[in-house]
């Protein structure tokens, strides 16, 4: 077998839907520069301790060289003890500093890694809500898990090890040049072989390793899904298909393993040949030089030992350079979040009053493809408005515009006369909250889960909020009360309890206007009815725009807006609309029987 072509299928290509930007080379460079500046001192410290360790490690070969020199010259009065003592001191220094190199390297790497992941999350939590709504959280999630994971090795090990390797190799070459200048020439002979081989390898390796890692992740992902969907797999008799899928993934992954193995099958002999060439040329050329009298035997010994020591730093550099290249793509993905404009907003825009209005609003997710056409409506303070209509008619989109998450393309959405689109997200949410089916319960204590809505709330406030949504009963029954761990890994919270937590957050955040996007629809009917009582209490005294999938929600509203095809086609009270005999009336009759 001569050569292996890269597999046709590349698992890295389709591994995640990129909905957020990937950092340009410039952003990445700027960020890396900033990272180094932040840790300049740690970096310099690492380089210095490393230099001391390397210099100390060269004392041995040097002393041995002198000994050999003296022995070869037939000297009888050699101070072996003095040499041994010097050797021992050098060894002690080397021991201490080698330990420091490893430790300082790890500390630097860990600091940089912590900075990287924290910086990413800082940027992520500042993303404008509109960007999140559109992009979803899947891409962010894969960045904070997969990409951070892939970067860890590179930052944790590659950065310190590479700097160690470069300093090490440089010092060795320098020492070689100082002790035996002609021998440095011998090293240069081997250089072209190494350069040509590495060039070939590094052109192919980073992409291949990336695909290999993605391929392996895909193997695990297929299995995870089979496990996760156990019920579905069994009900639909998909077992054989899942096994076949896993084996196909294994085939795809191992194809990349085979390719990268081939790449190393080329690289390894090149590296080995380089070492042999260095050592061989040092010895043979050096031998000739000694016989010509250009070089002493001691210098040759020292030179040969130093040349042999070059194996380690060269190996180090080759090993970690790889990793750094693979990490580049992940770094670009992490840094990419920086290219999104953080939510802007004018802090001076302050609403006066609570009336929500939409005036001739047009909006679309794509250019030239409007979802809403000239929608206007006014919701007086304290009113209940229900939006009903078929899927895809634009109800949810309209709700998001009224909650200030999206800005209209034309027209304006105002709250108390102030344009929502011009306010910062932090200001908007003091007044308006969107309540949707997403009742995320965060990993952590019940207290943390509530405090997020109002960090200044005391325990009494938290209990009051829980009581307001009928949740104090089960919450008080918890062994650790507010300190009970909930979310995945902690106490299992039922969907209804999750929703009560979400509602309690609303009580604490206390916005005067709520946009409900079918908040209870994913729940089963009995839980939903119980929750509706909780919800009713939360809604008291607030302006409510409810996107209703279920008609009973509409029935209770002051005004019902039937949304069809991006327009409001009917508008009025329940009785009024039933009497009018339109689309709403037909549906109501079929629903209510």
């Amino acid at each position: 077998m001569i050569g292996v072509a890269p597999p046709r299928y590349d698992p890295a290509a389709s591994e995640s839907a990129t909905t957020l930007p990937v950092g340009s080379a410039r952003t990445v460079r700027a960020y890396v520069g900033e990272l180094f500046r932040r840790h300049r001192r740690a970096f310099l410290l690492l380089v210095s301790v490393n230099a001391v360790a390397v210099v100390a490690s060269m004392v041995g070969p040097h002393l041995l060289g002198n000994l050999v020199e003296d022995l070869a010259a037939g000297a009888r009065d050699i101070h072996v003890e003095r040499t041994v003592a010097l050797f021992a001191v050098a060894l002690a220094v080397q021991t201490v500093f080698v330990r420091q190199v490893r430790l300082r390297g790890a500390m630097l790497g860990e600091w940089m890694l912590a900075d990287l992941r924290e910086d990413f999350l800082v940027r992520s939590v500042r993303l404008p809500p509109g960007v999140l709504e559109r992009a979803g959280t899947g891409d962010l999630l894969s960045r904070i898990t997969t990409d951070v994971d892939r970067l860890s090795n590179a930052v944790r090990e590659a950065v310190p090890q590479l700097s160690v390797g470069i300093v090490w190799a440089g010092l060795l070459l320098g020492a070689l040049t100082v002790t035996a200048p002609p021998l440095a020439l011998a090293v240069v002979i081997a250089l072209p072989v190494l350069l040509v081989g590495c060039r070939w390898y590094y052109r192919r390796a980073p992409g291949a390793y990336r695909s290999e890692a993605a391929g392996y992740a895909a193997v695990a992902a297929a299995l995870t899904e089979t496990v996760d969907a156990g019920r579905t797999v069994e009900a639909h008799r998909l077992g054989a298909r899942r096994v076949a899928l896993s084996e196909r993934r294994i085939g795809e992954w191992t194809a990349w393993e085979r390719y990268t193995l081939w790449l190393r099958t080329v690289l390894f002999p090149v590296v080995n040949a380089t070492h042999v060439l260095i050592l061989g040329s040092v010895l043979t050329l050096g031998g000739v030089f000694v016989m010509r009298g250009w070089l002493s035997v001691g210098e040759l010994t020292t030179g040969a030992l130093l040349a042999q020591m070059l194996v380690e730093p060269i190996g180090l550099i080759l090993r970690w350079y790889d990793e750094l290249q693979v990490a580049q793509v992940s770094l670009a993905r992490l840094v990419g979040v920086r290219e999104i404009e953080p939510g802007s907003g004018d802090d001076t825009v302050v609403p006066e009053g609570r009336e929500v209005r939409a005036d001739a609003v047009r909006f679309g997710y794509r250019e030239g493809d409007d979802v809403l056409h000239e929608v206007s409506l006014a919701v007086p303070p304290g009113a209940r408005v229900a939006l009903v209509g078929p899927s895809g008619a634009g109800k949810s989109t309209l709700g998001r515009l009224l909650a200030g998450i999206y800005a209209p393309r034309t027209g304006e959405v105002t709250l108390g006369g102030a344009e929502l689109a011009r306010m910062p997200a932090e200001r908007v949410r003091e007044h308006v909250a969107l309540v949707n089916q997403e009742h995320h319960v965060f990993v952590g204590t019940l207290r943390d889960n509530l405090l997020l809505a109002n960090p200044d709330a005391g325990d009494d406030d938290l209990w009051a909020a829980l009581a307001a949504v009928d949740a104090d009963g089960w919450a008080r029954a918890l062994a650790d009360g507010l300190d009970s761990e909930v979310g995945s890994g902690g106490m299992a919270v039922t969907p209804a309890q999750a929703q009560q937590i979400a509602l309690a957050r609303l009580v604490l955040a206390d916005p005067h206007t709520l946009v409900l996007d079918e908040a209870t629809s994913l729940l089963d009917p009995r839980a939903a009815r119980h929750l509706e009582r909780s919800l009713a209490r939360v809604l008291e005294g607030r302006t409510v725009v409810a996107i209703a999938h279920r008609l009973h929600t509409a029935h209770d509203a002051d005004v019902i807006a039937v949304v069809e095809d991006g327009r409001i086609s009917e508008w009025g009270g329940h009785d009024e609309l039933v009497a009018a005999g339109g689309a709403y009336a037909a549906l109501w009759r079929s629903w209510h029987g």
Binding site: L67, A106, G230, H236, V243, E257, L283, Q437, A502, H549
Partner: protein
């Protein structure tokens, strides 16, 4: 076994009695590869070990001014260099092949086990363990199994070098051998704490990743209501704990590194000291001193392999234990020894559950209203057979008089498809989603139309650039997270319709779908399921109104049967559940439970209709209204 032949045609039957036995089994299953790696490894290390010999010859030749000696040193160097190059490359190839084949074998075994366990896995806590084995443990297991051969090669060469040294120069050799033993003994006790710290660090890292992904997953909530700073602070804390744990681990490793510099250094110094004395006495040549010095430096290399082997073992031991436990999982059959006793013929006829008294007449659309959603879920699951907890001892569901628990699982699942409350959309293209074992009667297009998936298709067609406008080529992400709850439900329903089983049980199939769409789904469902048995758990009047008959379940038993309108007028409690009138506490006394007792056990009242599968639904409905 070559990598290109993977996946294994048959991964074999592993020895799962213990973690160690599993490792042994894996090792034995690649004995050829192990021997190959051992041979190449020995060649490589022997060649490296011989290098100091060449250096010694060269130094000696230079010292004596012998050109001939220099040439032979160069020749020796060339031969050894070649051997090292070939040995190194081939060892790497053999070792990686062993690693990959072992890992692939384990992944295949795991996939088979997961598929065989199916729903049983979801019920157990073991689900997380299976994933942990796949994502973390297999790598370590493969590493250890592979490192056995390299360890063997290192052991062989170390012993060889030590013996040679002792023979070549007894005194120096003895010192070196003693030093090597001391070196191994000094480093080994440091390894367990180092691996423990590494494990602690990994655990911290796992927690931080969990916090980060949890924060990102709930980011919309945070941005909508606040608390970003709270969660950032929390994450920073976790991230810094990871950093500190990592530095703690590094402290241990740096100590090991230091010991590995110090002890061999001391050994070297003693060798130089003694060697110089010997050379001064003229008992050894200068070149020999250099050779011994070089041999000692070489010994550090196999020593590292010893250390790696010890580390691989301590890392892989818990992994192998867990893998063995997971691979040993077997399905607990709920039906006892009789399970699978009946033949493989797919039964058909009326579906009857003796425990609740529920009957779903063949060819009809039966709706079930159940006050308690959890009870509804359990009842739905039981209707498929092979589901219950074996300790309960509830009698099996009968399909056409055949106990489903007693037919093979595959047959039961073929006969009855239970779509639970939270059906999972498996990732892949839409076409792959609909590639399920099916009757072939219902085309995906028809099912999608029936489930009112038009808007989903539009959204999917627009979502990706590579679909070419064909929604069937659009990709569904894991669990369909890119879709809304209602869209997911409708796709799942369409998938079940494509399967087109004899009996289809749907648990709340449209709970997240808006009323407009739900009404259309209900109409289409009737049409697609004509002449097939369908059971829908729901409390939506839009669905109930379109069912042939409705069974009202309370406290685990059917207490009323009739049409929706009929029950609405007759049973106040039913009315309360389905219309969600504010007060659910309807007086129980109002329920006429004599006239509406469930169908007599064993003799379903619609047994006669089952014999006439072609009978139109409308006629059957009249019949039911009569009986009610």
């Amino acid at each position: 076994m070559q990598i290109r032949d993977l996946p294994h045609p048959d991964p074999g039957d592993p020895d799962v009695r213990s973690g160690f036995r599993l490792l042994l089994w894996l090792w034995r299953s690649q004995l050829g590869g192990q021997l190959k790696a051992l041979a190449w490894g020995t060649l490589q290390m022997a060649a490296i070990a011989s290098f100091p010999l060449a250096v010694g010859v060269a130094v000696e030749a230079a010292a004596e001014g012998s050109g001939e000696g220099l040439v032979s040193a160069g020749g020796l160097m060339l031969v050894l260099g070649l051997a090292v190059t070939v040995g190194d490359t081939m060892l790497h190839r053999a070792a990686i092949t062993n690693w990959i084949t072992a890992a692939a074998r384990m992944q295949q075994l795991l996939a088979r086990r997961a598929a065989a366990l199916g729903a049983a896995l979801t019920r157990r806590v073991a689900a997380g363990e299976v994933v942990a084995v796949s994502t973390g443990d297999i790598e370590k297991i493969g590493w250890f199994v592979e490192s056995v051969s390299r360890f063997g090669a290192a052991l062989l060469t170390t012993v060889g070098v030590c013996v040679a040294l002792v023979v070549y120069e007894p005194v120096l050799g003895a010192v070196v051998v003693a030093g090597v033993v001391l070196l191994i003994a000094a480093v080994l006790p440091l390894l367990p704490p180092a691996t423990r710290r590494a494990d602690a660090q990994r655990a911290e890292a796992g927690r931080a990743t969990e916090l980060a992904s949890d924060t990102v997953a709930g980011l919309r909530v945070l941005r909508g209501i606040g608390g970003e700073e709270l969660f950032l602070a929390r994450y920073r804390g976790a991230s810094q704990r990871v950093r500190r744990a990592a530095v703690r681990t590094a402290r241990m490793w740096s100590l090991i590194d230091a010991v590995q510099v110090l002890l061999p250094g001391l050994l070297l110094i003693s060798v130089v000291w003694m060697g110089t004395r010997l050379a001064l006495d003229g008992r050894i040549a200068v070149g020999e001193l250099v050779t011994v010095y070089g041999a000692v430096t070489f010994l550090l290399f196999p020593l590292r392999l010893f250390q790696e082997f010890a580390m691989a073992y301590s890392f892989s031991r818990p992994s192998a234990k867990r893998a063995a436990r997971v691979l040993a999982l077997r399905r607990e059959t709920g039906a006892g020894p009789a399970a699978g006793a009946r033949g493989g013929r797919v039964p058909h006829g009326d579906l009857y559950d003796p425990a609740s008294g529920l009957t779903a007449p063949a060819g009809c659309l039966t709706a079930v209203v159940c006050g308690d959603p959890d009870a509804a879920g359990r009842l739905a699951e039981r209707l498929g057979g092979h589901g219950g907890d074996p300790s309960e001892g509830t009698p099996s569901v009968l399909l056409g008089g055949v106990a489903l628990d007693e037919v093979p699982l595959e047959v039961a699942r073929t006969a009855v498809l239970v779509q639970d409350k939270d059906p999972v959309l498996l990732s892949g293209t839409l076409r792959e989603l609909f590639d399920v074992p099916s009757s072939g009667r219902v085309a995906p297009r028809r099912a999608l139309e029936a489930a009112q998936c038009g808007d989903v298709l539009d959204a999917l067609a627009r979502s990706g650039a590579d679909t070419g406008g064909d929604p069937m080529r659009a990709r569904i992400t894991e669990r369909g997270r890119s879709l809304s709850g209602g869209q997911r439900q409708r796709l799942a329903l369409a998938r079940s319709l494509v399967t087109d089983p004899e009996v289809l049980v749907l648990d709340e199939p449209t709970s997240a779908v808006d009323s407009h769409t739900e009404a259309r789904v209900a109409d289409a469902l009737r049409l697609v399921r004509t002449d097939r048995t369908t059971v829908v758990f729901s409390s939506s009047p839009l669905l109930l109104d379109r069912a042939d008959r409705v069974a009202f379940v309370r406290g685990g038993t059917v207490i009323a049967v009739g049409t929706h309108r009929d029950l609405l007028s007759r049973v106040p409690e039913y009315r309360a559940v389905v219309t969600r009138e504010a007060d659910a506490d309807v007086p129980r006394a109002g329920i006429p439970d004599t006239s509406d007792t469930p169908d007599t056990p064993g003799v379903p009242d619609t047994a006669g209709t089952a014999a006439a599968p072609g009978a139109p639904g409308a006629r059957r409905r009249e019949r039911l209204e009569e009986t009610a």
